[in-house]
């Protein structure tokens, strides 16, 4: 028989929503986010803090949720990948990740994206060294990182221009288009 673990109340502001659940006292934040807070976008890659797939922001600071006891984050504001977009308006880095090849298989993308969003929040115009230092804790096996860095550069330009990202629900191509003219 397994010893019954202590259960404790836990609450946090996950992507702006109050989450209040009971968790086991030794629960890992990653498990709580995935299994109790509905953030399946936060990925489990290695369980020992080496790959960065599970990165989330705790009060705006990138943390590895697989190495964080859930109780440490109790009462904090937590941002996961699901919290980056504003409704159907993507965060610029989400848009450029798709358009510049920052994401291939996409499994590491949630970790990269939250880390980069924190970087851009703090420093909207990072240079290459600053970009590299920010994502040094994240492994990507597909892209070789180069197109990830490209994505950050372009996202930084979008931020600087002040243009938002369009709503993804707007009408797409018309199969019976008007060519203008008269």
């Amino acid at each position: 028989m397994l010893p019954a673990p202590d259960e404790v109340p836990w609450s946090a502001l996950v992507n702006g929503n109050e989450v209040s659940v009971r968790i086991e006292s030794n629960a890992i934040l990653l498990d709580v986010l995935r299994d109790k807070a509905g953030s399946l976008g936060t990925k489990r890659g290695c369980d020992m803090g080496t790959c960065g797939c599970c990165s989330v922001l705790i009060d705006g600071v990138p943390r590895l949720s697989c190495l964080t006891l859930a109780q440490e984050a109790s009462g904090c504001g937590i941002t996961t990948i699901e919290g980056l977009a504003d409704g159907h308006h993507l965060h610029p880095i989400q848009k450029t990740f798709t358009e510049c090849g920052g994401s291939q298989c996409g499994f590491c993308s949630p970790g990269f994206l939250v880390v980069i969003s924190a970087l851009l929040e703090e420093n909207p115009t990072p240079n290459d060294t600053e970009i590299k230092d920010a994502i040094e804790g994240n492994l990507c096996r597909c892209t070789g990182y180069q197109q990830i860095v490209d994505s950050v550069r372009v996202a930084s330009e979008i931020l600087a221009s002040g243009d938002g990202v369009e709503d993804s629900t707007t009408a797409k191509s018309d199969p019976h288009p008007s060519y203008g003219g008269n």
């Binding site: 996409g106 499994f107 191509s173 288009p177």
Partner: protein, 918 residues
């Protein structure tokens, strides 16, 4: 038609009344006039291609974001472990703690009694054999009699939560009888009292040799006799793991109707489909394999896996969905990564700087199961019979079972290690001949549309352009042998299959390799059904682009359904770099059928003759009078009269190819990719640390359908290859135990280890590829390893023959060189080059061949060219039919067996059925 050009025919759109004006019209004359059709050029690529007539300019060739990208960047993409079904149970696997043991008994009673445990299963619940290749099925869902490596499956449990499942695994008591394990691959060649598998009458002696290959082609006798210089090396390559970020995960669910749905991140859903039917003993139609998003594959998710069987078995027992999710450690136990290999490589060059022989001896460590190993054993040899024209090819290969996690297919399958050895050998030959290594390569290339020494039909070849482009981009001529000590530059080339010519399961049936279905209903959107597995490489996107291109539609009107075997036509999946070539070809065929229907409808609507109609962006119009036309939707609705949705099916099957000797099928492909990389490195002479500074990477992918993805594949391949050459290694300790099954000690390069990569796309416009395309997923990995090794030689004058070149290894080699030369590291000088007379000979030949190749590349009907012409034979006839000294042999002679090389010694055993003892 043309006799009366003034007469306006057909349904003519009136401005203001109908939705179209002539595209680009303006000014006072709103109406167009018919034009002289002869003056309107067809859209043509370089050299012309069979798909030129269906090019509409809509989608192909543009850098295109992956169509499923937004799912991934918002966290909404569901990977294996993200599939959560109501009432799910959590499965865990009981794994062997011994390398090799007989399982005497399994006591599951304590586990079964643990509250929360719903079911426990063992090998008794599924005794069916499976394996990815039909000829070597040697796996079971769980141990039948023996366990063959640490981590091999013994039993599995399903419980209400993960903690209970883990506890239940601990409570399963297994009684073992330990057997003597084989760890060293060389030991696998010897007879054993208890071979790891028993293949019955096909067993080779009493050894652990799983597969052996012997091949001799060309002038074997003359190989050494004609040589003026030779390169000899003995390589040791460590095993490498794919290192995909998503650990394996699977969910199995038997629904109330009795059908099984298996949710799994698979590269090859079809093989799992087959294997499940075998193991569960139910027909295939009762199973739906649902491919989830795949968090990286690289070959590591292309076998049917025992844990997939386990989930299905547990779900069958419990009547509930069962999810099994791996720890990172378990990923290393299931492995299927690159084979640890010992490769002997001898190259010979004659006085004219021709490559008069390649001798390769490759012993590869297969671990505990066959997996793709049958093929790997061939690929280690046959995939270096190009791009160079050679005088002889002697290959001995053997794959042995050892008590390690199984090796299998990994990006660049079977070609990576031996290619590294060949390219480092080429560098050494150039050094000995005192010529430039790029010139040596340029003077020895096979031309387009030629046959290799083993009879592979090679169509387009962009090798020469790759070499020339990297030479120029890297500033090679100013850097090679001229950089300061500790800095170096090196070249490496690659050659890889673009799809496997023979399907694994099909013969003697003539099923296609790939099938694509299209459906267009009244909304105008196109639904594409394909079984090609999107694993992040962009297969969904490239298929959508191909369909969009033919139909003249924007990409957002195409939707791909590629997830489920229930709705997708059978497809061989994402391996051997086949998807773009085969599936895009099938998609183009399917789209061309629909295109024809749309053209017919447009012809009926406009009264224009069908051969005058062309498709542009969402519009079908007269080529000679663009104002006469209908919109895509108008044509579609016309075509759907009395019929409803348009549906079509397109398929691709390879043409007949290759020669007839045993093993001739291994390595044949409908096309081959080529690549050449230059790497610039800095080696710290005191610490042995190698830093790669910059890589110029030219890859011939035929035609870049999605240049963004091609570049991504090139850069990603460099990353994976740099890992293998610099730091990645599956380390086995003194007792044979894998000591680094985690991403902390298995060192994948981070961003700080990555140099700047300059991807250079070379387009050779393959005659059979979709719009001219070939592969770009695996070939780009090959050249980076030798390019780095050769650059290290240029930097510090040490020739490595062991990978990875970790600082300790490089340091040891530097020390050895210092000791040998009696100097301190700081006094070491790097190699120099003073051209010999041969350099000019080679330059002249390269320049002559360049014109030959340019002619052949665009010749619509090039004459036959067989390997051997460089040695004076008639190119139109295979050299072995012209000269009896040129042999074709696939069994060793008794002479050879008197002193066989390492892998060649596998032939000292007799197959049991030939030994008279079966």
């Amino acid at each position: 038609m043309s006799e009366d050009k003034d007469r306006v025919e057909g349904y003519r759109q009136q401005s203001g009344k109908l939705p179209f004006s002539r595209p680009g019209s303006g000014g006072s004359r709103k109406m167009s006039e018919p034009r002289d059709e002869d003056k309107i050029a067809n859209i043509r690529g370089n050299g012309g291609h069979k798909h030129d007539d269906v090019v509409t300019g809509s989608a192909v060739g543009r850098p295109t974001a992956l169509i499923d990208g937004r799912w991934k960047v918002t966290g909404q993409a569901q990977y294996g472990d993200d599939v959560r079904l109501p009432g799910e149970l959590v499965g865990r696997i009981v794994r062997s703690k011994h390398h090799y043991a007989r399982v005497l008994s399994i006591d599951v009673s304590a586990a079964t009694e643990l509250p929360g445990v719903v079911a426990v299963a063992t090998g008794q619940d599924a005794s069916g054999r499976f394996g990815v290749l039909p000829v070597t099925k040697d796996e079971h869902a769980m141990a039948q009699e023996k366990v063959r490596h640490v981590g091999d499956l013994i039993a599995c449990v399903a419980a209400t939560d993960e903690a209970t499942a883990r506890e239940a695994v601990r409570l399963v008591e297994v009684e073992y009888e330990e057997l003597e394990a084989v760890h060293d691959m060389r030991q696998g060649l010897e007879n054993s009292e208890e071979p790891i598998h028993d293949r019955g009458k096909y067993h080779i002696g009493a050894s652990n040799v799983q597969k052996r290959v012997f091949q001799e082609f060309g002038d074997i006798e003359g190989m050494s006799a004609n040589a003026v210089v030779s390169h000899n090396s003995n390589w040791l390559f460590a095993g490498a793991n794919h290192g995909f970020t998503e650990p394996h995960a699977v969910v199995a669910n038997w629904d109330p109707s009795g059908r099984l749905t298996l949710y799994t991140p698979q590269q090859v859903p079809h093989y799992v489909h087959r294997a499940l039917a075998d193991v569960l003993d139910i027909p295939m139609h009762q199973i739906n394999v649902h491919r989830t998003f795949v968090g990286g594959g690289f070959g590591g998710k292309s076998d049917p896996f025992p844990h997939e069987m386990c989930a299905a078995i547990l779900s069958r027992k419990t009547g509930r969905p069962v999810r099994i999710n791996f720890d990172r450690e378990e990923v290393f136990w299931v492995n299927r990564g690159r084979h640890p290999s010992r490769i002997g490589m001898n190259l010979h060059a004659d006085s004219k700087g021709r490559l008069c022989g390649i001798e390769t001896d490759a012993l590869i460590d297969g671990g505990a199961f066959a997996s793709f190993g049958h093929v790997t054993t061939y690929y280690n040899g046959v995939l270096h019979t190009a791009p160079y024209e050679i005088g002889a090819f002697h290959y001995t290969g053997a794959r042995v079972w050892t008590n390690k996690p199984a090796s299998g297919a990994m990006r660049g399958h079977g070609a990576v290690n031996s290619r590294c050895a060949v390219e480092v050998g080429m560098d050494d030959l150039a050094e000995q001949l005192n010529v430039d290594p790029i010139t040596l390569r340029l003077a020895n290339l096979l031309p387009p549309h030629s046959a290799t020494i083993t009879g592979f039909r090679v169509t387009s070849i962009g090798m020469r352009e790759c070499l020339e482009r990297v030479r120029q981009a890297s500033g090679w001529d100013d850097k090679f042998r001229k950089l300061p000590d500790g800095h170096g530059i090196g070249i490496g080339c690659g050659f890889f299959i673009s799809g496997s010519g023979l399907p694994i399961h099909w013969e003697p049936n003539k099923f296609p390799h790939a099938t694509v279905h299209l459906k267009i209903d009244m909304d105008g959107g196109v639904t594409v059904h394909t079984g090609a597995a999107e694993i992040g490489q962009g297969s969904d996107t490239v298929i959508a682009q191909s369909v969009a291109e033919v139909l003249g539609l924007p990409l957002d009107m195409i939707r791909i359904r590629s997830r489920e075997t229930d709705t997708s036509p059978v497809d061989l999946g994402s391996y051997s770099s086949r998807v773009t070539f085969m599936n895009a070809n099938a998609a183009i065929s399917a789209a061309m059928e629909i295109r024809q229907e749309l053209l017919e409808a447009a012809a009926a609507a406009t009264d224009a003759p069908i051969e005058r109609l062309v498709i542009g962006d969402r519009r079908i119009y007269r080529k000679d009078d663009p104002a006469v036309g209908v919109s895509y939707l108008e044509a579609l609705h016309k075509a759907q009269e009395d019929k409803g949705a348009l549906v079509s099916s397109g398929a691709y099957r390879t043409p007949p190819m290759g020669r007839v000797h045993k093993g001739a099928g291994a390595g044949i492909a409908p096309a081959y990719s080529f690549s050449a990389y230059v790497a610039e490195v800095k080696v710290d002479i005191e610490t042995g640390q190698t830093k790669v500074l910059k890589v110029w990477a030219a890859h011939d992918c035929g035609k870049a359908l999605n240049p963004l993805s091609v570049k991504g594949q090139i850069i990603g391949s460099c990353h994976m290859g740099l890992g293998q050459v610099l730091s990645e290694e599956m380390k086995y300790g003194r007792n044979g135990h894998l000591i680094n099954p985690d991403l902390l000690d298995y060192k994948i390069p981070t961003i700080h280890e990555m140099p700047e990569i300059v991807p250079i796309i070379v387009e050779s416009n393959d005659s059979e590829g979709p719009f001219g395309a070939k592969e770009a997923g695996e070939g780009p990995l090959l050249p980076i390893l030798p390019a780095v090794c050769n650059a290290v030689y240029d930097a510090v004058g040490i020739r490595t023959s062991e990978l990875p070149i970790t600082p300790d290894r490089v340091h040891r080699m530097i020390e050895a060189r210092c000791k040998h030369e009696g100097v301190t590291p700081l006094d070491l000088s790097s190699p120099e080059l003073h051209h010999s007379e041969l350099q000019e000979v080679l330059e002249a030949r390269a320049s002559e061949h360049a014109s030959r190749d340019a002619m052949r590349a665009t010749d619509p009907d090039p004459s036959d060219y067989n390997n051997g012409a460089l040695f004076g034979f008639d190119p139109e006839i295979p050299a072995d039919e012209q000269d009896e000294r040129w042999v074709v042999s696939v069994t060793p002679s008794s002479d050879y067996m008197e002193s066989p090389r390492l892998a060649g010694s596998a032939w000292k055993h007799t197959e049991r059925r030939h030994g008279g003892d079966s």
